[in-house]
Amino acid sequence: MSQPVAPVRHILIEGNKSYHNITEDLCTPTEKAPSREWIIAFSIASALLGLYIFAIIWTVWKGIGSWNLNRTINWGWDITNFVWWIGIGHAGTLISAILLLFRQRWRTGVNRAAEAMTIFAVICAGQFPIFHMGRVWLAFFIFPFPNTRGPLWVNFNSPLLWDVFAISTYFSVSLLFWYTGLVPDLATVRDRASGLRRKMYEIFSFGWTGSAKHWQRHEALSLVLAGISTPLVLSVHTIVSFDFATSVVPGWHTTIFPPYFVAGAIFSGFAMVQTLMVITRKVLKLEQYITINHIESMNKVIVLTGTIVGVAYLTELFISWYSGYIYEQFAFYNRVFGIYWWSYFGMMFCNVVSPQLFWSRKIRRSIWWTFFLSIIVNIGMWFERFVIIATTLARDFLPSSWSYYSPTWVEISIFAGTIGLFFVLYMIFTRVAPVVAIAEIKAILKVAGDQYIGPNASQGHAHKQDEATKKEA
């Protein structure tokens, strides 16, 4: 606390909060009856979830034939959506692990919600490969354990199996990390509750008392989990990219895929965090905790990762020409000018061009622009996966097999349904747990809040300048 903080730094907690105010502000949403907006939004999400359940039952009952996949295009919306959701999950891990290493204090405003989002996104992602298996009751065949199925055994050479391990590890570690952070906050909620509610929170907070020993263990565990999470940020999407890049399919087999998928995942993840945060901070009245400065920082991450993805797109395009390999050249010609040209242009426009607007400070700090562009990026990243998967498969080596793919109502419903699933989970989360990490916010209050008490505190400059901009916004 005694360390000085540069006067040019942004203020991260506004409104002259006391520790008690923080507890009040962040616990209240879990204690009040839900607002009308919440009920309306939850009803819509539940309806979509209902649609999801219906479409899944339909798929299992009728079989995968109810999707529009064919022998040429054997991966379509299912894998597109899978990769899209997995990518969205990455922001949570990046914020909780990598930004922790980089000592980015603004992460405390959004880490809880982003980590929750990670878990829900991975749940949504997992639906697609599971139901794409067709006979979903045999899904456990993907686990290598001693069995009586004779020669049926997983293929350890296949990146699809690596995915099973990568994603289940990712899910477990993210869940543990998120829950570890939640324990002290759940205890805070418990202490304010009574009756059955208190009992429930007592169980879920594992009898946390806040003793020095508890904190010591909590911090040791958090550090270990952060250490494990850091390589996971890279490994999960790297292995997802291997699903494509280990093949010899032109347009898929390219060595830049792993880092470029990771950058794209962080890009789409931050876009989804923005979408959620812009709404959450408004509905739960958390503008003083998730400030415009948080939003600006995330927009900077978006423009950075969007541009990295742009370098990768252009690299691929250039090297396909440079390779002198006609199939590679054709694959990219087909992406840009082929039957699915609109998806390529959608991808380029949404992912590379539109984020460049964030070079403008005014747009970066505008709520409406942020929300609008975050949706654009979400769409663009969906297009990216569609371009990679459907466009490439539609024009394979054998022209007689060339085909066109468009989804059936079942596939569309499943995708829309996972969005419902995601929002149902997220909205329940906002009702049962503090959306912003109470303990972590309190830890930075005197360092990065408007009550900074370190050396040079009297100058108070940054904060005045910021007040001015805030009024502007």
């Binding site: 000085p4 090297i319 006609i326 040079n456």
Partner: protein, 541 residues
């Protein structure tokens, strides 16, 4: 906190030592040139290798600094001037790479096979038409080379000069103002896309085109990560040196610790990129891509494995602990390994390809590939090459080439291969070893490669490459298979040049930006690591 000794003085003694280093470098360059093949391949590859490596180090110092400034990093203010001064070396790099570019225009060297005057890329009906290079000639030509090398470097240098000027101007401002700070942020942020996009093209043009038939989308990022580590390692060594001379009292164990974390983290990142590139190419087993690693693994095993040992194993194991990143001695040692290791990595990227280019140049000069004295199977392999390069990417009947393969395999006492790539790969490896061992069999490896490509049903260019570098470029040769003493001398020469220029730059301004808004943060920087027996983790004097 001692902020008095902030003016670096470039002493006469240091100057003399560095001039001595440069003289040694020139001597070694002359020595390699005198003892060289007719194209002075060893001389030119050494020149290219060191020019690119040190220029890239300067570029990455600037790029990393720009990223830090953009990200509101406060901790690094105490060492900011070091990166600023390192970045200025791009001016010298401009001259060095400019010499390579002049060499391209004047055909003074054969570093780049695509620039060979005897190469046929215009007449598809002629026998030695190189379809692949012809297809790339829109990019691989002297004009584009000039743009992508010195053109881009000039742009980067301009940005680096502007950032440095703004930073220095800040020192002299009289009233507290944020103007310079804001201006510097603008230069830094705009440098990121400029450096990010252009560096990829720079590395394709200057490094990847040494192997003109080969390509990898990862290559540019891989080369960038490598230079980044060279830059970080040099930073560590410079910090420790300056501290030993009584400067930089304000740079503490905590700053060193954080630079050490970067060395550790980026080493893992480099390994990640290395692994992705290698594994994806290995897994897909596509002839025109695997040839790059096959060549290096078979004929340059010391380079190949040494690369991983120095750039992954050493920093990973040594820097994993907290305390090693805070010890000056250990950090200097690791930085030395990593700095040398990435110099080695650039050596590994350049030498094998340039050696093949020189060999091909010789063959072309002697009237194509019809070398006399090769056994029949060899010319069969060449026939394969011709066929392949005239048929654009279509699947081949590999059967028709099988007899040639059988013969050559027989010669190398290998079983007749079938269509499985695995077998071929093994056979080829053994064949190559045989050839280098008894020094007779130019033919054997040529055939092996030739047929292997045919098996892949590939696209000619690798068959071409493979057949061409059959004889000479596979055996042991000092300065190519491993760096020789002259290479070390040349490196010392270039390093001395780098440091000489660096110190003159460093001398021009205070060692610490005293009016930087992050100054206080940096002076009180703590990593939070509690290491016993370190006097509280701070190096207060």
């Amino acid at each position: 906190m001692n902020l008095t000794n902030t003016q670096f003085v470039f002493e006469g003694k240091t100057k003399r030592v560095l001039i001595g280093g440069m003289v040694l470098g020139v001597l070694c360059l002359v020595l390699t040139a005198l003892n060289d093949d007719e194209y002075h391949t060893r001389f030119w590859t050494n020149f290219l290798h060191n020019s690119v490596y040190f220029t890239a180090i300067a570029f990455m110092a600037m790029f990393f600094l720009a990223a830090q400034i953009t990200a509101f990093a406060g901790w690094m203010t105490a060492i900011k001037r070091i990166w600023e001064s390192m970045g200025q070396f791009m001016l010298v790099g401009l001259v060095l790479i400019g010499i390579v570019a002049i060499g391209v225009w004047g055909h003074l060297h054969h570093l780049y096979h695509w620039n060979d005057p005897n190469l046929n890329i215009s007449d598809p009906s002629a026998p030695h038409y190189d379809r692949i290079i012809a297809g790339k000639s829109g990019f691989l030509n002297p004009v584009f080379f000039t743009i992508a090398s010195i053109g881009f470097l000039a742009i980067w240098y301009f940005w680096s000069y502007k950032m440095r000027q703004t930073s220095i101007a800040q020192d002299t401002m009289e009233t507290a103002s944020r103007d310079y700070y804001k201006t510097e942020r603008k230069w830094a942020a705009s440098f990121l896309p400029i450096g990010g996009f252009l560096s990829a093209v720079f590395f394709w043009q200057v490094l990847m085109s040494v192997d003109p038939h080969w390509y990898s989308t990862m290559f540019a990022w891989y080369a960038t990560a490598s230079a980044w580590l060279g830059s970080l390692a040099l930073t560590v060594m410079i910090i420790i040196y300056l501290k030993s001379r009584g400067y930089l009292d304000f740079v503490t164990h905590d700053h060193l610790h954080d630079v050490g974390k970067y060395v550790f983290g980026i080493s893992v990142f480099w390994t990640y990129l290395w692994f992705d590139q290698f594994m994806l190419i290995w897994y897909a087993n596509n002839g025109e891509e695997t040839i790059y690693f096959k060549e290096r693994m078979n004929h340059y095993p010391v380079l190949f494995w040494g690369n991983l040992l120095m750039n992954f194993v050493a920093p990973f194991l040594i820097l994993m602990r907290n305390d090693t990143k805070r010890k000056f001695g250990t950090m200097f040692f690791v930085a030395l390994i990593v700095f040398f290791g990435h110099w080695w990595d650039y050596f590994y990227m350049i030498k094998p390809g340039a050696r093949i280019a020189a060999h091909e140049a010789k063959e072309l000069a002697e009237g194509g590939h019809h070398n006399t004295g090769l056994s029949a199977p060899a010319s069969d392999a060449l026939a394969v090459k011709t066929v392949l390069s005239n048929v654009k990417g279509e699947q081949h009947e590999s059967g028709e080439q099988q007899p040639a393969a059988a013969e050559s395999h027989g010669e190398a006492n290998q079983p007749v291969p079938n269509d499985e790539n695995m077998h071929d790969a093994e056979a080829s490896e053994d064949g190559a070893h045989g050839a280098s061992a008894d020094d007779h069999g130019a033919a054997a490896p040529a055939d092996e490669h030739g047929t292997e490509e045919a098996d892949h049903g590939g696209h000619g260019e690798d068959a071409h490459g493979a057949a061409a570098h059959a004889a000479e470029p596979s055996g042991f040769r000092l300065g190519f298979t491993v760096p020789g003493l002259e290479e070390l001398g040349v490196m010392i020469g270039f390093l001395s040049l780098f440091l000489f220029f660096f110190f003159t730059q460093l001398e021009r301004a205070s060692l610490i930006p005293l009016k930087d808004p992050y100054l206080e943060e940096s002076l009180h920087h703590e990593t939070g690591a509690n290491i016993e027996g370190e006097g509280g983790g701070h190096d207060h004097h």
